[in-house]
C-alpha cells in the first residue's frame, strides 16, 4: 500500500464481522444428493455442516415456500419437534450423516451466500447467511456444495389459488418427508416422467388418482406407463386444458377441463390437483453468489453452467443433485442423486488437496425438452387471459401482456392505456425484470416461487420468442422471506455502528449550495454529518 493511501472509514472495508461459526465444507440441502455429499466429505475427515430447511415453518409453507405446497398439509406440520423426528425417520441418509460426524442442522434456512470477488472486495471470506424461526447468523465456509434440488413450475388456471392445487415436488415432500398430506382424491397434470412418478407414488399410498391430464395430444412418457396407469384405473385425458377448479370451504372440489378438439367440458371430482408438468433447478443461491447460469431446456429451465456436473463458474462453489439440472423436467432420482453428491464431495476434497479417486460420472440425461413442454402448457393456458398468474400482487395474464400498472394506482392515464408489451418490444426484447417493475408480477412475498417461470413463459408466448430467450430475472438475498427482526444483526459490530452513515459520508456533499466556497462551508459540513437525509 502506498504511503499516501487514505482509508475511508465509512466504507464497508474492514467492517464485515467474523462469522458466528465456521465450517470447512458447507452443504445446503439434505436430500439424497446433499446427504451423500456430506457423508462422503466427512468420511475423508473434513469438517462438514449440512443444512436443510425442512421442517419448514408453517408461515412459509402457507406462502408456498420453498415448494408449491398448495395448502394441502395437515395440522401435523404445526409441531416442529414431531416433524424433525418424522424427517429423520424418513431419511436413513440423514441418520447416516449424523453418524459420520456431519454437523446436521434441520429447520434451518440458508437465505444468502456471498463470496469475495468483483464488487465484494471487502468481504473477508466466503459467508453463508443462515436463519431459523427466531434469528439469523453467518457461517464462514471454504467450500460450498449446493444440493438445493429442483422445484415445481406452477401454472395458473381459474381456482389455482385455492387450497388443493399444488406441485409434484411438494406432494412428494408432504407424503414422504412430512407424512402430512391431507388430500385423498387426485388429478395429476402432465403425462411426462414427473407425472408418471407422481401417479405411481400416489397409487402406492392408496390415494385415488382420477386422471392424468395433458394439453398435448400425445402421452409424453413411456407408452407402457400409460397402460400401467390405465390398468390401475387412472383415466388418461389428452388434448385437455384445465379451465377452472370449482371450490368450497375446504378448497378445490374438482377440475373442469376443456377438450380442445371439441370444446366440450367436463368436471372431474377431486380434492387435489397436482401440477406435475416440470421441475426446474433451484439456482437462487448460485445466482446470488454470482455464479454462471444458462438456459438449459432439457434440464427444466435455467441451470448452473458446469463442465462436469459438479463444478460451477466459481472455484469454491459446487453442485450436486437436481440443482445441476432436472433431466427432462423430472428428478434425476435417488440413486443418481447419491452418486452426484459423492462426486461433488470428491471434487471438493480434491480441491482441498486430498488424494481422491473420483468416481466415473454417471450423468443422467434426457432428450426431453422440458422447456418446450412447459411452453406448450403456457400456450394452452393463454386462452384465459383474465386468470391471475401472480397471486401475491394479483396480476393477470392480460395485465402482464398489457404491461398494466397495478390496480392501486387507479385507472391508467390515456397515454398509459396505449402502452403494452408490444410498445416495449419496439425498444428491445422482453425483459422480465423490467416488466416486473411495471406490473409488479413476481414482486410479492412468495418471492415469485409461484409465478416466476410462468411469467417468463407468458412473455415468451406473447412476444413470440423461445422461452430460453427471455433473460432470467435475477434472484436476490434473502432467498427466503424472513422477518426484519429475524434477519436483523442484533449484535452489530461496534465498527459498523460507529461509522454508520445514511449515505457515503463524503465531507461537504450536503453543504447547501450557497455556502460552498464561503466561511459557512465548514460549519454546515459539521452539522450535516451522517448523510443529511436528502
Amino acid at each position: 500500500m502506498s504511503a499516501t493511501r487514505g482509508f475511508d472509514r465509512i466504507s464497508q472495508a474492514g467492517k464485515v464481522p467474523a462469522p458466528d461459526e465456521r465450517t470447512q465444507i458447507l452443504v445446503v440441502g439434505g436430500g439424497p444428493a446433499g446427504a451423500a455429499a456430506a457423508i462422503e466429505a466427512a468420511k475423508a475427515g473434513g469438517s462438514v455442516m449440512l443444512v436443510d430447511e425442512n421442517p419448514v415453518g408453517v408461515g412459509l409453507m402457507a406462502l408456498d415456500t420453498p415448494l408449491y405446497f398448495g395448502g394441502r398439509f395437515t395440522n401435523a406440520v404445526q409441531t416442529q419437534a414431531r416433524m424433525v423426528e418424522q424427517i429423520l425417520a424418513s431419511s436413513p441418509l440423514l441418520e447416516a450423516a449424523f453418524e459420520a460426524g456431519v454437523d446436521v442442522r434441520l429447520g434451518t434456512y440458508v437465505w444468502g451466500a456471498f463470496t469475495p470477488g468483483w464488487g465484494l472486495a471487502s468481504l473477508p471470506e466466503s459467508l453463508a447467511g443462515l436463519a431459523d424461526e427466531e434469528r439469523a447468523w453467518m457461517v464462514g465456509f471454504n467450500r460450498l456444495i449446493l444440493a438445493t434440488g429442483a422445484r415445481d413450475v406452477a401454472f395458473a388456471f381459474r381456482g389455482w389459488d385455492q387450497p388443493g392445487v399444488m406441485g409434484a415436488r411438494a406432494f412428494e415432500a408432504l407424503t414422504s418427508r412430512y407424512d402430512a398430506f391431507s388430500g385423498r382424491r387426485l388429478v395429476i397434470l402432465g403425462t411426462g416422467e414427473l407425472a408418471i412418478e407422481t401417479a405411481r407414488a400416489a397409487l402406492s399410498r392408496g390415494l385415488l388418482v382420477e386422471a392424468v391430464v395433458d394439453v398435448a395430444d400425445a402421452f409424453q412418457g413411456d407408452p407402457s406407463a400409460a397402460a400401467e396407469l390405465a390398468a390401475a384405473g387412472v383415466e388418461i385425458l389428452l388434448g385437455h386444458v384445465p379451465v377452472s377448479a370449482p371450490s368450497g370451504l375446504e378448497g378445490i372440489e374438482g377440475l373442469t377441463l376443456s377438450d380442445h378438439a371439441t370444446g366440450a367440458t367436463r368436471t372431474l371430482p377431486c380434492d387435489t390437483i397436482i401440477e406435475a408438468i416440470s421441475l426446474t433447478p433451484v439456482i437462487e443461491l448460485l445466482d446470488v453468489l454470482g455464479g454462471a447460469i444458462a438456459p438449459a431446456p432439457r434440464l427444466g429451465g435455467h441451470a448452473p453452467v458446469t463442465s462436469d456436473g459438479t463444478a460451477t463458474s466459481l472455484p469454491n462453489i459446487f453442485i450436486a443433485g437436481d440443482v445441476a439440472g432436472a433431466p427432462g423436467g423430472a428428478s434425476m432420482g435417488e440413486e443418481a442423486a447419491i452418486a452426484s453428491g459423492r462426486r461433488a464431495a470428491q471434487a471438493v476434497l480434491a480441491s482441498l488437496g486430498h488424494e481422491v479417486r473420483p468416481e466415473v460420472s454417471t450423468v443422467v440425461e434426457s432428450d426431453f425438452d422440458a422447456l418446450a413442454y412447459q411452453m406448450a402448457w403456457a400456450r394452452a393456458l393463454m386462452s384465459d387471459p383474465d386468470v391471475v398468474i401472480c397471486q401475491c400482487e394479483e396480476v393477470s395474464r392480460a395485465a402482464l401482456t398489457e404491461v398494466r400498472p397495478p390496480g392501486y394506482l387507479g385507472p391508467p392515464s390515456p397515454a398509459q392505456a396505449k402502452r403494452d408489451l408490444a410498445s416495449l418490444l419496439e425498444d428491445g426484447p422482453a425483459n422480465q425484470d423490467q416488466i416486473k417493475r411495471l406490473t409488479r408480477a413476481c414482486m410479492g412475498p412468495c418471492q415469485a416461487r409461484r409465478c416466476r417461470e410462468q411469467v417468463a413463459l407468458t412473455l415468451a408466448c406473447a412476444s413470440n420468442v423461445a422461452p430460453a430467450d427471455v433473460p432470467l430475472a435475477g434472484y436476490r438475498a434473502p432467498v427466503r422471506p424472513l422477518p426484519l427482526n429475524v434477519l436483523a444483526d442484533w449484535d452489530e459490530s461496534p465498527e459498523i455502528a460507529r461509522h454508520w452513515d445514511v449515505w457515503m459520508g463524503i465531507p461537504g456533499q450536503w453543504t447547501p449550495y450557497d455556502d460552498i466556497g464561503t466561511e459557512r462551508e465548514a460549519l454546515s459540513a459539521g452539522i450535516l454529518g451522517e448523510g443529511g437525509h436528502a
Partner: protein, 388 residues
C-alpha cells in the same frame, strides 16, 4: 446510420429527463443505452426528492408535483416527508436540517413523539421526536424511468436500448457523433449522462472527469398497511413506504469499485442487509415482523467533492456533461430542464450552476482516489489501515 440533432448517452433518469425536456422544445433527440432503460442507479435508488443543498432544489420542488401530468404517466410521487429520531443525537441533527430548510423558505414542523406516531403508525415508543417537511417527497424510481422514456417517445424522441456508446467521435474540434455497434450515429450536440462510465467516455477526447464508483444497497419488505406519510425515515436510513405498502430502505456502508467501460460486472448486495434490517426494525418496531423479500444494490459515481457535474463544456463547444452522483433521482426533473437550457441556450435559466463545472477538478491529483481511500479495499488492507 443517421443519428439525431442531439444524442444523449445514458437512459438513466438524467439522460431521459434531459431528452424529454429537449423533445418538449421540439429538438430531434435520441437516447442510447448499453442496456435497458433505468437498469443502473436510476432503477435502484430510494426515490427521495428533497435535495435542499442543491442549486436545483427550488426547481425540483416546483416540478415534482406536476410531473405525472407533464409526463402523462404516473411516477407514484407522494408528497412530504417525516424524518424522526430514536436518539437525542439524531433529533438534534434533524432539527438543524429543519433550520436550513426554513432558511430556504420551506415549511418544516417540529413533531413530538405522539405526532410522529400519528403520521407513521409503524413507529414505536422509542421515538424521541421528528421533523415534518411540508415539501419534498418520493417517487417510484422504476416507474419514473419508464415514464420519462415513454413521454419522450410520445413527443417523437427515440431510445435505442442495447446500444453502447463505444467512442465519442470528434471532427474539427467539435463532437460529430458517437460510435456504436450500430455504426456511427451523427449529432450536432452530445449529452453525456452515462453515470460511472462518463469518465472513460470523456478521457479519449481529452476531458478529465474524475469519478469513483461505489455500491450502495437497499432492502424491501412485504407490504404493510399504508401510513399517512410514506416518506418516513431516520435512524441512519433513507427510504420510504411505497404506494403498494412495502418498506424500502437503504443506508450504511458502501463499497468502492472499479467499473470499466462496459459498466458494473455485478451489483451484489451483502451481509450488510442484516444491519439494514436491524435499523428498519428499530425505526418501525410495529413493522418488525414484516418479511424482507428482496435486497438490491446500485452503483453510484462520485466526484472528488461528492457533488454533481452539470456543465456545457467550452471545448468542444457542443458537449454537455451531467453526472449526478447520489442525488440524481430526485433532482432529475430539474436536471433535465437545466440540460435543456445548456444545450439550447448555453446557460441555465433558473439556477446558478457555476460551482458544478468540470473545470473545478483541473488540479485534482492523478492519484486522488488512492489519497481519499476511494479504491476497492480488501478486508486485509482495511485492517492494516485501521491498526493504530
Amino acid at each position: 446510420m443517421s443519428g439525431a440533432s442531439v444524442i444523449v448517452i445514458g437512459a438513466g433518469v438524467t439522460g431521459l429527463s434531459s431528452a424529454w425536456w429537449l423533445a418538449r422544445s421540439g429538438v430531434d433527440v435520441l437516447v442510447i443505452d448499453k442496456g435497458i432503460v433505468g437498469w443502473e442507479a436510476s432503477g435502484r435508488n430510494g426515490g427521495g426528492a428533497s435535495h435542499y443543498h442543491s442549486p436545483l432544489f427550488h426547481e425540483e420542488q416546483k416540478l415534482w408535483p406536476q410531473m405525472d401530468e407533464l409526463l402523462g404517466y404516473t411516477t407514484e410521487y407522494r408528497r412530504e416527508r417525516v424524518i424522526f429520531a430514536t436518539t437525542e443525537h439524531h433529533l438534534e441533527n434533524y432539527r438543524r436540517m429543519a433550520e436550513i430548510c426554513r432558511g430556504l423558505g420551506y415549511r418544516v414542523d417540529d413533531l413530538d413523539p405522539a405526532q410522529v406516531r400519528s403520521f407513521v403508525p409503524l413507529a414505536g415508543d422509542n421515538v424521541t421526536g421528528g421533523i415534518h417537511l411540508r415539501f419534498g417527497g418520493q417517487a417510484n424510481p422504476q416507474r419514473t424511468v419508464q415514464a420519462y422514456a415513454w413521454a419522450l417517445q410520445d413527443l417523437g424522441g427515440r431510445v435505442f436500448q442495447h446500444t453502447p456508446a463505444l467512442r465519442i467521435v470528434t471532427a474539427g474540434g467539435r463532437v460529430s457523433g458517437v460510435e456504436t455497434p450500430r455504426g456511427v450515429l451523427g449529432c450536432d450536440h452530445l449529452v453525456v449522462a452515462a453515470g460511472p462510465q462518463a469518465e472513460a467516455l470523456l478521457a479519449p477526447i481529452g476531458l478529465r472527469l474524475p469519478l469513483a464508483p461505489a455500491r450502495a444497497e437497499m432492502i424491501v419488505t412485504e407490504p404493510a398497511p399504508l401510513m399517512p406519510v410514506g416518506g418516513a425515515d431516520g435512524n441512519g436510513l433513507y427510504g420510504r413506504q411505497t404506494l403498494r405498502g412495502n418498506l424500502a430502505y437503504g443506508g450504511g456502508p458502501h463499497e468502492w469499485l472499479d467499473v470499466d467501460a462496459l459498466g458494473p460486472r455485478r451489483r451484489p448486495s451483502t451481509p450488510i442487509l442484516r444491519n439494514l434490517a436491524k435499523r428498519v426494525a428499530e425505526l418501525l418496531p410495529r413493522g418488525a415482523h414484516l418479511r424482507v423479500i428482496r435486497s438490491w444494490a446500485g452503483v453510484v459515481e462520485n466526484t472528488p467533492d461528492g457533488r454533481p457535474v452539470l456543465d456545457r463544456i467550452a471545448d468542444p463547444g457542443n458537449l454537455t456533461v451531467a453526472t449526478m452522483s447520489g442525488v440524481g433521482f430526485g433532482l432529475s426533473p430539474a436536471t433535465g430542464h437545466a440540460v435543456r437550457d445548456l444545450v439550447i441556450d448555453g446557460r441555465c435559466s433558473f439556477a446558478d450552476l457555476g460551482k458544478l463545472t468540470l473545470a473545478r477538478f483541473k488540479d485534482t491529483p492523478a492519484d486522488w482516489r488512492e489519497r481519499q481511500g476511494w479504491l476497492p479495499t480488501t478486508h486485509e488492507q482495511a485492517l492494516a489501515a485501521m491498526a493504530p
